[in-house]
C-alpha cells in the first residue's frame, strides 16, 4: 500500500471535518477467466454534511466503490489495497479496508454509522416482513431501546420521510406501496439510526421524474436537518447538477476528475468529463441537432488499455505518451484535480472552450 501519488497526500489533510477519506482503493474480482479490476485506484474524500456525487457509466466501478466502503463486495471480489478512513461518531478514526467484513465492528457501523439505499426498492426490501418490522430491526440492532420505543421511532421515521398515515403503513408490506413510497420506506430504514453517512446507489434511477424530484428534495431536506453526509452514486448528470457539492467522475475503476460541482460543469478538464457533458441532450442546443458521442466503447474488463485507460477513445490523445504513461493525479486547485497528461506535464492547460457553451 505505497502511496503512488505523493503530490496529494500531505499529512495535514485528514482534518476533523473529513468524514470519509478513501485513498487509492483497489477492489478486484478474481474470476476463473482472470482478474477484473473493477476499482483500480480510487481516491475520494467527503466532509461532514456534504454531498459527494460519484458519476460514471455502467462498469466504471462506482457501485463497487460504494460497496467496498460498507464491505459488502460480493464474492469473488476483494479489496486488494488502499485505505478507507472513516471518522467514527466518538471521534476515533478507523480504516474500514482493514476490517473483517464479517466481524462485529463493521456490523456496528453498517446501518448505525453508515447506511445505504439501493436502486431497486422492490428487490432490496423483504417481501415477507412488514415495513415496520424492517425499520424496527435496524433500530433494535443499534440502539438500546425497547420494542415499544422502537415502534414509536419507526412511526416517526415514516412520518419524516413523508409517508402518509404512518402508523397504518407500518404494517404494510413492500408490495403494497408504490415505487416512490417504497423508496421512502427504504430511506426511513436507512436513516432510523441517524447515520453519519448515507450511501445512495442510484436511488432515483428506477423512478419517474416527478417522483425522482420528490425523493431528491427529501434527501436534501433530511440532510439539512441532520447534518449527515451523502455519497450519491448516479449516472445522471442532471441529478448531479441538482444535488452535488463535490463530484468525482469515474472511468474504468479510476477517479479521472474530481472537483466542486461548478468546476466540473463549467470548467471540466478531463476529456472524458467534457465528452460526457456534451453527450447529454440539452434544451438550448437548438442549432445542432446531432449529439456529441464518444468514439468506440468501454473496453472489455480483461483488456484494460495501457497508460491512461481513456486514451483509445480520447480526442486529445497524445501518441507515445498517453498509451504508455499512467497519468498521476494532478491538483489544479484546492479542490479540483484531474488525471490527464494534458495538464500534469507543465500546467499547460490547453485553451478549450467551456463544455457548456
Amino acid at each position: 500500500m505505497q502511496p503512488t501519488h505523493t503530490r496529494l497526500d500531505d499529512p495535514a489533510k485528514t482534518d476533523s471535518q473529513t468524514l470519509l477519506d478513501v485513498k487509492d482503493l483497489k477492489t478486484h474480482f478474481f474470476t476463473d477467466e482472470g482478474v477484473v479490476k473493477a476499482v483500480d485506484g480510487v481516491n475520494l474524500s467527503l466532509k461532514r454534511g456534504e454531498t459527494l456525487c460519484v458519476v460514471g457509466e455502467s462498469g466504471c466501478g462506482k457501485s463497487v466503490t460504494a460497496r467496498s466502503i460498507l464491505r459488502i463486495v460480493p464474492n469473488p471480489g476483494q479489496i486488494v489495497s488502499g485505505e478507507i478512513n472513516f471518522q467514527q461518531r466518538d471521534g476515533e478514526a478507523i480504516d474500514l479496508a482493514r476490517m473483517n467484513p464479517k466481524g462485529r465492528e463493521i456490523r456496528k457501523i453498517r446501518g448505525g454509522e453508515i447506511s445505504m439505499i439501493f436502486q431497486e426498492p422492490m428487490s432490496s426490501l423483504s417481501p415477507v416482513h412488514t415495513i415496520g418490522s424492517q425499520i424496527m430491526e435496524a433500530i433494535l440492532l443499534h440502539l438500546p431501546v425497547s420494542r415499544q420505543e422502537a415502534r414509536k421511532r419507526a412511526v416517526s421515521m415514516l412520518d419524516l420521510v413523508g409517508i402518509p398515515r404512518p402508523s397504518e403503513q407500518l404494517d404494510a408490506y413492500s408490495f403494497e406501496l408504490s415505487g416512490g413510497m417504497r423508496q421512502r420506506a427504504m430511506i426511513a430504514i436507512a436513516l432510523a439510526c441517524e447515520p453519519q453517512l448515507l450511501i445512495a446507489d442510484e436511488p432515483t434511477t428506477a423512478l419517474d421524474v416527478t417522483t425522482q424530484a420528490n425523493i431528491l428534495d427529501l434527501i436534501r431536506d433530511l440532510q439539512q436537518d441532520s447534518g449527515m453526509a451523502v455519497l450519491f452514486i448516479t449516472h445522471d448528470l442532471g441529478v448531479v447538477a441538482e444535488i452535488a457539492d463535490e463530484v468525482v467522475v469515474m472511468y474504468l475503476g479510476r477517479d479521472v476528475e474530481s472537483g466542486d460541482v461548478d468546476a466540473i460543469f463549467h470548467d471540466a478538464k478531463h476529456p472524458y468529463t467534457r465528452a460526457l457533458l456534451q453527450s447529454i441532450p440539452r434544451y438550448d442546443s437548438r442549432e445542432n441537432r446531432r449529439l456529441y458521442s464518444i468514439k468506440g466503447t468501454v473496453p472489455h474488463p480483461f483488456a484494460r488499455p495501457h497508460g491512461c485507460p481513456f486514451h483509445p477513445r480520447c480526442d486529445d490523445f497524445i501518441a507515445e505518451r498517453c498509451n504508455s504513461i499512467d497519468p498521476p493525479r494532478h491538483k489544479l486547485s484546492q479542490s479540483h484535480s484531474v488525471r490527464c497528461l494534458l495538464y500534469s506535464a507543465a500546467d499547460e492547460a490547453p485553451p478549450k472552450e467551456d463544455a457548456l457553451s
Binding site: T210, A213, A241, R282
Partner: protein
Amino acid sequence: MNSESEVMPGDSSIEPLLEVRNLHMQFPIRRGAFRRTVGFVKAVNDVSFHIRQGETLSLVGESGCGKTTTGRCIVRVYEPTSGQILYKAEEQERIDLAELDNRDLRPFRREIRMIFQDPFSSLNPRLSILQIVGESLKVNRVASGSELEDRVASLLRRVGLRPEYIRRYPHAFSGGERQRIGIARALALNPRLIVADEAVSALDVSVQAQILNLLQDLQEELNLTYLFIAHDLSVVEHISHRVAVMYVGKIVELATTEDLFTNPLHPYTEALLSAVPKPDPRLRHKGVRIRLEGEVADPSNPPSGCYFHPRCPYAEDRCLHEEPAVREIENDRWVACHFAEELDLRGFEAIG
C-alpha cells in the same frame, strides 16, 4: 424543431400515416375461484392522435400512464377493446388495423416494427446475429442463403456494426451494440413506422447519444416515421417533432415540441417539465419546482372529473365534477383542461 422540419413533417396537408381514433384498451381484473371479472383497468382510455410520414411523435408520461400499451396496440400485440387504428399503406386506402385478424395483419407487420427497451432481454441468447436479424427476412421469404447473409451484413453496416460479427451471439455485445442489433432487426423488412418503446432508457449517456444520432440518421435516409415512447423529457425534446403527454390512460396535451416545452397548456405538463433535473448547477435554485402531491391515480378506479384534479395545484370545483374533453385550442394543439386559456403556465426555459 428546426426550420426544415416545419416544412416537411409538420405540414398538416400531408395525409397521416397512422391515425388512432378513440382507442380503448381495458384489462379485466379477475378474482376468486371462478376468475370472475370484478373490474377493468382502463390502461388506454379514449386516446386519439395521428402521425405523419417522416415525423417523430413522442408519447410521454409516468409509469402506468398507458404509453407502452398504446404502442403495443398499434403493433397489435394487444387487441384493442375498441377504437380505430387507421394505417395508410402505400398506394392503398386506409385500413383499420384494429379490426384485422392475425392473417390479414401479416403484410402490415412488415411495415410497422418495434424496438424494445431492454437490449438484454429482447434478443434471444441462443440465436446468432444472423438468425436474429435475418429471421423476418426468412419467414417472409424475402431472402435466403447467401443473399440473406448479404442483406444482414448490409443491415449491420447501416446501424454501425461490423458485418464480421454476423455469427456471434448476443452475449458478446455491449448494451449499445445490442440496441443496434435490435434496430437492425426492426429495419430488416424496410418498415415505414417504428414504435420505439423506451429505446434508449437503459443506456448510458454516451451510448444513448450514439443511438439517438443513429435513429435520426436513419429517419433522414429512409424517411422513417417514429412513435417514440419515453419518459426522459430531455431525450424527447431532442428527438421529437411533436409530443403527446399522457396521464392515467388519456392524452392530456399534444403539441409541437417547441410549443409544449416553452408554453405548456396543461398543469400536468408544467409539473413534468419542472421536475426534469437541469444539467447545470448554476440553475439549481432558480425557478420553482412544482411538487406533485399524492400518487398517480389508479386506472381501475380513477377519480371523478378531471383525473389530474387531486394533484393539480390549480384545481377548482368544476374539475371535480366535469371531465375536460380534449379540444383543439390552436391548429394542431390539443389539450384537456378546462382552464387552458386562463392559466399562465411555465415552460422549460422559464424554469431553467
